[in-house]
Subunit: 498 residues, 2 copies
């Protein structure tokens, strides 16, 4: 509406200037003043329209090609592990989201009340998943879900923080034996990060019960567990001194208690750390610590069987922000060239979330993980750019070109044959395009082969087959075109980058 | 909040009933009255939460598997024709959508004004595409876009009309020679419908200019072209007599004019119809009719080259609802068992839409089509159900089972090997599951092979390989497991239905 107002004022101003009596001039200047007050440089044009909403973006063909190829790899891993997929609406009843995200609830996008239900855009995929399980009384499922979620956060687009972004979740729900699903989640993170070629990485693992046990051992009052846990969570970004300061000064923790926590959360290792903790008599007095240690021992044993211990660290400083975790927690970080990007996967066990939706609070134990797919995308984009490569945006194998005018019907006859034979092929939509333009198109799009149709060749029953990269050309019989092409295509590496 | 209030009142009421002094009883009855005023049967339970918003639904694993396999086929066709893909945000600035959908604008979902921009959920994929082209000054692109769109329509879920649904669009934008992109769109519809195995179908084609020419010839006043066009559009669902009645009684058209229209719109054919129209001296007086006839002649010639004439009808009754079409229009319908489902594809040329977003009204000519993917899904679902088939929801090739207790670590060792070899495999997450339950899982999910691990076999260095369907079993050496499995898997048809 404001925009329309601006346009109208500008139009009126223009109309008035044509006549220009003193009175009109005065009116015009008043209008121009009003226009200036509206404070926009684009008044009178439609430029205002030409943007995406704050914190969102379009994905162009190159970005989409990269995203789809990364998602394909991830989905292939999920499917290798027998996952099904589901989808849920982009919005939920507002009540479904209420009370699940603590103070982050202010970041939820609400829909306008247009009569009827009060709705909000989903904030993650986990809460809709829990709602889905409770609603359909599903007690076990192994599912992945890749979709967009919405957060009215302060966008930092240079850091890859958007208001609309993909999440990529895998979860196992069901009442099972300890650590069997949990260890498979870790194996999946391992396989996914390997298959994406992101360089070296480490998966940190810890257990919420162990953390609780440590806090109790150190003398943290029960009511401060959560806030101290969220302070520990900052250890991946801040040095211990700062975290300690937060504990003592902001959260009122006794300094000695903080120091005791400090000696614990600096520890990391493998099964040796389990042994060390087993010798800690104070710790063993806390049932929750014992539970955590036993669980970690079992988990690490399973991870050894799954051959992922080289990439795993049992890290007592890992805390994870979300409130709903109840058991194992984990987080993966890149450790090579991309060490600064933050975590690229994370998750844990949340046994009580589904119960929040069930009329009888019946729980379905869950463990799951989310790949930080937007961060993974930026790492891949940078890596492709650094290597001077380009992502192919189409899969065209053969471009059908002409060297002379008005041979488009010959091209179309060939195309119909190629398409029928399932060969990916295209042409220019101009009747008489320039040969150079056609070949440039092939180079730009990484199309490996071109068929060049010419009058002379056609009379001889031939067409020219050109290798776009090497520029080699050869005559092949028009009648055997499909056969010859298929042979030739088998020799190409039709990968997604070129 | 209302919901919480109800819960609290109900809880309070229950607590009070336990003590039951007269005064409390009175309080209770007041509370129960309040509760009744709130008018909900589910007071006290959380059942309210357990639904998706009106007109939306979750897609369960079976529905998703079917959708993904259909989408894969469609995407493969789009890619065979060299299409790129893009994505745009789920919401747009409200202004982008304003003035594009006529009276259907009331069906747009608005977001709540939470400070900042005024946003609305996208209503289709075409307007965001036009905005994308104008915003990025793109003058030519061939792209597909499969994504969800939102309409606050009166949902008729039994008829497959939802408020959130997929659209599946392919468009060619650019200044090209007549009918070259248009005919390829028709070829793509042809290929897509063939590859989806939907049975026999017909693609109806017509031209907006020809319709305008016919209206002019018959004497329809210029200002009634649109409304008469939208009456003609109903001929696929209503008999001529009804459509005529609408023209005459509702739209005030002279009966004689309506009858003249009737003689035209009853015509359909192929290139013969072009010849017939060429002999109509009255019609040829209208430049727009001549343009339409010439275009159709060229289009049909190209469609012959593309070998799709067997499925094409030049149908003068095809009008298409949308205002923005400027040239060729088309629509595909199923003609076999699924004759009643309505159109499964539609589209046309829209040369002026992008200009609505350009500050200088610079146009980018476009032609494109949308597959009626939700209808296609229902046809496929019905067809699978009718054949007594089930859609596989996972791709698991091998289930690793145990016949005895506590062999889960042996299973996990095998799984790690299989996953490493890229074999899709899973197990029960229970340490000692029953063999019968494991085999039932295989049958339920259509998993073709099971490896059964037993103590005796392991001692002999063997495992049992079981064909789930035939129940045949064979011992294979544990050491050659991967190799043997790969050989065996090559002999299976791992299709998506079973």
């Amino acid at each position: 509406m404001l925009h329309l107002m601006r346009t109208n004022i500008a139009l009126a101003a223009r109309r008035f200037t044509g006549v220009a009596t003193p009175q009109i001039k005065e009116e015009v200047s008043k209008l121009l003043e009003l226009k200036a007050q509206l404070g926009d440089e684009n008044v009178g044009s439609q430029k205002l329209l030409l943007k995406t909403p704050k914190g969102t973006r379009d994905y162009n063909p190159e970005q989409m090609a990269l995203r789809l190829s990364a998602m394909d790899k991830i989905v292939a891993i999920f499917r290798k592990h027998g996952a099904e997929t589901i989808d849920t609406p982009i919005f939920e009843l507002k009540e479904v989201l209420t009370g699940k995200y603590g103070e982050d609830s202010k970041l939820i996008y609400d829909l306008k009340d247009q009569g009827g239900e009060i709705l909000a855009l989903r904030y993650d995929l986990t809460v809709p998943f829990a709602r889905y399980l409770a609603m359909n009384k599903i007690t076990n499922i192994k599912r992945y879900h890749i979709a967009k979620v919405y957060r009215r956060d302060n966008p930092a687009m240079t850091k890859g923080r958007y208001r609309e972004f993909y999440q990529c979740d895998f979860d196992i729900a069901g009442q099972y034996d300890p650590m069997l699903p949990d260890s498979e989640c870790l194996r999946i993170i391992y396989e996914a990060l390997k298959s994406l070629n992101l360089g070296p990485f480490t998966i940190k693992v810890n257990h919420r019960c162990l953390l609780d046990g440590i806090f109790a051992t150190c003398g943290v009052p029960q009511e401060k567990f959560r806030s101290i846990c969220s302070a520990v969570d900052k250890l991946d970004k801040s040095p211990w001194e700062e975290v300690k300061k937060e504990m003592v000064e902001e959260k009122g923790l006794d300094e000695k208690i903080a120091d005791r926590i400090g000696t614990y959360v600096s520890k990391s290792g493998g099964r040796d750390l389990v042994e060390e903790l087993r010798k800690d008599a104070d710790l063993l007095k806390q049932p929750s610590a014992v539970e955590g240690i036993n669980s970690m021992e079992l988990l690490l044993k399973y991870c050894e069987i799954f051959k992922i211990m080289d990439n795993l660290v049992f890290d007592l400083s890992l805390a994870r922000g979300l409130d709903y975790y109840t058991g194992v927690i984990f987080e993966a970080v890149l450790t090579g060239d991309n060490i600064g990007v933050g975590s690229v996967a994370g998750g844990g066990r949340y046994d009580n979330l589904v119960g929040m939706f069930d009329p009888k609070n019946k729980n379905v134990p869950c463990v799951g993980m989310s790949l930080g797919i937007e961060r993974i995308f930026s790492v891949l984009e940078t890596s492709i750019a650094n290597r001077g490569m380009k992502t192919r945006t189409t899969e065209v194998q053969v471009f059908v070109a002409t060297a002379q005018k008005n041979l488009h019907e010959e091209r179309m006859l060939i195309l119909a044959e190629l398409w029928e034979a399932n060969i990916k092929a295209e042409q220019s939509y101009k009747k008489s395009p320039k040969l150079l333009a056609q070949l440039q198109h092939c180079e730009e799009y990484g199309i490996p082969l071109a068929i060049i149709v010419g009058e002379g060749e056609l009379k001889r029953g031939e067409v020219t087959l050109r290798n776009v990269k090497t520029r080699e050309e050869a005559s092949i019989p028009r009648a055997n075109l499909v056969e010859e092409l298929k042979k030739k295509l088998d020799t190409f590496d039709l990968s997604a980058v070129h």
